[in-house]
Amino acid sequence: MFSYYLDLARRSFRRNVALTALMIVAIAFGVGASMTTFTVLHVLSADPIPGKSHQLYIVQLDPERMIGLVPGGEPPDQLTWLDAQALMREGHADHQVMMTGGHAAVEPQREGLEPFFVDGRWTTSEFFDMFRVPFVAGSGWRAEDDASAARVVVIARSLAERLFGAVDVVGRSLRLEGTELRIIGVTDTWRPSPHFYDLNTDPYAKGEQLFLPFATSRDLKLGHEGGMNCWRESPDPEALGAPCEWIQMWVELDSPARAAAYRDTLTRYSEEQRRTGRFERPSNVRLRDVIEWISYKEVVPSDVRLQTWVALGFLLVCLINTVGLLLTKFLRRSMEIGVRRALGASKRAIFTQLLVEASVIGVAGGVLGLGLAWLGLYAVRQQPTAYAELASLDLPMLGATLVLSIVSSMVAGLLPAWRGCQVTPAIQLKSH
């Protein structure tokens, strides 16, 4: 029966090529536009560290003074060095890391290569395990290296290739702002999007190329990059004890119970600081996991969300257009339907036949729409924004495109098909 309906659909299309083409193109445009924006949204709001995003938590405290306190307000996004250091020493979490962004000049020891700046991360030893950084050679440093401010560095594969033309460069040395550092690890290509652990820079930018112990970065006075907020004037904002927030701290907690316990630890710490007079505000701590953090920081650009709505509205217009055209098409065939009904086809059979016809249009529109979405994403990738190069179709989105177009064309076909199968055979046969 199904193949017979397909054949009927084919005949019907050939009778009205222009109208059929119009419907297919309309669906294709609607689906193409929607899938382009959905894909961008899907890529940008993806879980940056699947499987672990509910075990990693960012620590927030409110160390500022009473002036400017907004009741019920949020604590600052970052910690002071002093607080981060104290919480790291307490070590109540399963794993913990403190860090800040930075950038530093690399002086290549290779002919014809000028010094250049790279973005780096000054952090502590557990960074690599906590955030599942893949290595091609060597490994990260140990806790002792943090304590002794060891002159060690982990570099990204791209930097190793640029500097040495090779990947396995463990044991060689890297000259950074006049200091020799020993390379102990090379990370494989790693680009969590969004760059959740530090959202002070473009959240979809390429990751860092250089990792070294936080203590080492302080010894070498390496530059700091990212947000810095001081609530009082400070001659040296990067000094220990300065009234400035510029450190991110993440903890790994394996169960909700551990998270609740850690939250209590933070409150207790905050209360202690209040008692000594260092904190002035009432305790205001937060412990957000990766997903909560990304949504709190509203990482996905609002333009992208707005575009998704525009595309959905566009799809809706295309669908209404298709409903109108299908209605036209089916009612124009009242006589044919009357004959089929008179020859014994049930209403249900007519309904099914017309829906099959609608979904064939949907499939055709979907395939064309896929092409348009591919073109649309190509256009997005040509844009100069940082997230642009992430925008490409993956398998789930490919399937979703086809499903969207078939479902939407069938929804569009429901009303016309229902109206079509209401045709009374007697009237149609009599009048002609």
Partner: protein
């Protein structure tokens, strides 16, 4: 007469008529909002800066390691750059409009204000800063040669910053209704700065993110080394900008080679880069609107063709009873006009509803009322163009058809 005839016909084709009205309404609502957003972005791309844009060239550079002689090297750098042909003036500064990143400060009329209310962009630069930027001093004067302080000496006893220049908007905010000239303000320290001049307009480097205070800027007379500010701003004859940019690297490396020139841009390109997201959004909105209107028009063509086909006999009968071709043509044109009018009335209400929702969610401003007639006129025109083909075909139906059975 025809009007009521059309209404009764439409009543008989309620579903199809409702669909086309709804489609037009949605198109109208979306296109109105899209045009509005596009206009919003377009006007944003014209945001003024107050500086001599076509003449400015920016160099961003940084030293490797901590340099003790940065101040001396900067003096040599500036002299070398100034000697390049086509260069009118050069200054070492901390930031430029659209340069990415900004230095901000609080400013108050009280010493040691515990809770200062006004924040401003903080421009610093050596002699020639105002001339290089090309800002216009509208009251008071520029800085005198002995008013410049060294950035590195700040915080020490001998560093005094006696004077300051404000943008007009900031001056009016701090001293509403009176002249700011000669008044004392406090930027960093307990020591006051005297307002010696007011410039007409100088934008915040990142005006989009600081919409509420985009016009609040102040300038401090400060000698910065390249290691402090990292930016050399040059005012150049517009046609020699490319030539000057090409010579920058060798010129600076001749002075002191161990430095990295991070960027060298013309200001006009920085503006383009700053508004790249707006340009993308604008192109997308424009594209969506055009395709949407085309699809709607084609939908009208399709449905009207169907109606013409369906009513061939009636049209034949009307023609046989004396209706002219013009009558038939006008019948379909009027029918389309009625449908589009209904669609746009609903569409305008919908446009407002969508706009209200966008205002809540995406900080969009209110849709000005004049956008609604623009959208309506657009759809009326489009509807009439779309209906013309099928209507002409209808008017060509021969009266003889009334006598034939199909």
């Amino acid at each position: 007469m025809q009007f009521f005839a059309i209404l009764s016909t439409l009543r008989r084709h309620r579903t199809a008529a409702a669909l086309i009205v709804f489609e037009i309404a949605l198109s109208c609502a979306i296109v109105c909002n899209a045009i509005f957003l596009i206009g919003d972005r377009l006007s944003r791309m014209d945001l003024p800066t107050g500086v001599a844009e076509p003449e400015l060239v920016r160099i961003q550079l940084t030293g490797i390691g901590r340099k003790a002689d940065a101040a001396a090297v900067t003096v040599q750098d500036l002299a070398a750059l100034r000697a390049l042909p086509g260069v009118k003036s050069v200054v070492s500064t901390n930031m430029v409009p659209f340069g990415g990143g900004s230095w901000d400060t609080t400013i108050s009329t009280l010493p040691d204000d515990p809770d200062p209310q006004v924040r401003s962009a903080l421009y610093m630069g050596g002699p020639g800063m105002l001339e290089t930027l090309g800002v216009h001093v509208i009251a008071g004067r520029g800085f005198l040669p002995d008013e410049y302080a060294d950035f590195h000496a700040l915080g020490t006893a001998q560093a005094k910053l006696p004077s300051i220049i404000l943008s007009r908007a900031l001056a009016e905010r701090l001293f509403p209704g009176k002249s700011a000239l000669g008044q004392a303000v406090y930027v960093w320290s307990k020591d006051p700065q005297t307002v010696v001049g007011v410039v007409d307009f100088l934008t915040h480097p990142d005006p989009i993110q600081h919409g509420d205070r985009a016009a609040y800027s102040l300038v401090l007379p400060m000698n910065l080394s390249y290691a402090d500010g990292g930016t050399y701003l040059m005012r150049v004859e517009p046609e020699r900008r490319a030539e000057v940019l090409a010579a920058v690297d060798t010129t600076l490396h001749k002075v002191e080679p161990s430095r990295v020139i991070v960027r060298r841009d013309m200001f006009t390109d920085m503006r383009k880069d700053y508004f790249k997201d707006d340009r993308a959004a604008y192109l997308l909105g424009f594209g969506v609107s055009i395709v949407l209107l085309i699809i709607t028009a084609l939908g009208v063509v399709g449905l009207t063709s169907f109606w013409v086909q369906q009513r061939r006999r009636q049209i034949g009968i009307r023609r046989a009873l004396g209706a002219t071709r013009g009558d038939i043509l006008r019948y379909f044109q009027l029918e389309n006009f009625i449908l589009v009018t209904m669609g746009t009335v609903i569409g305008m209400a919908l446009a407002y509803a969508i706009n209200l929702w966008l205002m809540q969610k995406y900080h969009v401003t209110r849709l000005p009322a004049e956008f609604l007639p623009i959208g309506a006129a657009l759809l009326w025109g489009l509807g009439q163009i779309a209906v013309l083909g099928p209507a002409v075909r209808a008017s060509l139906i021969s009266p003889a058809i009334a006598t034939r059975s199909v």
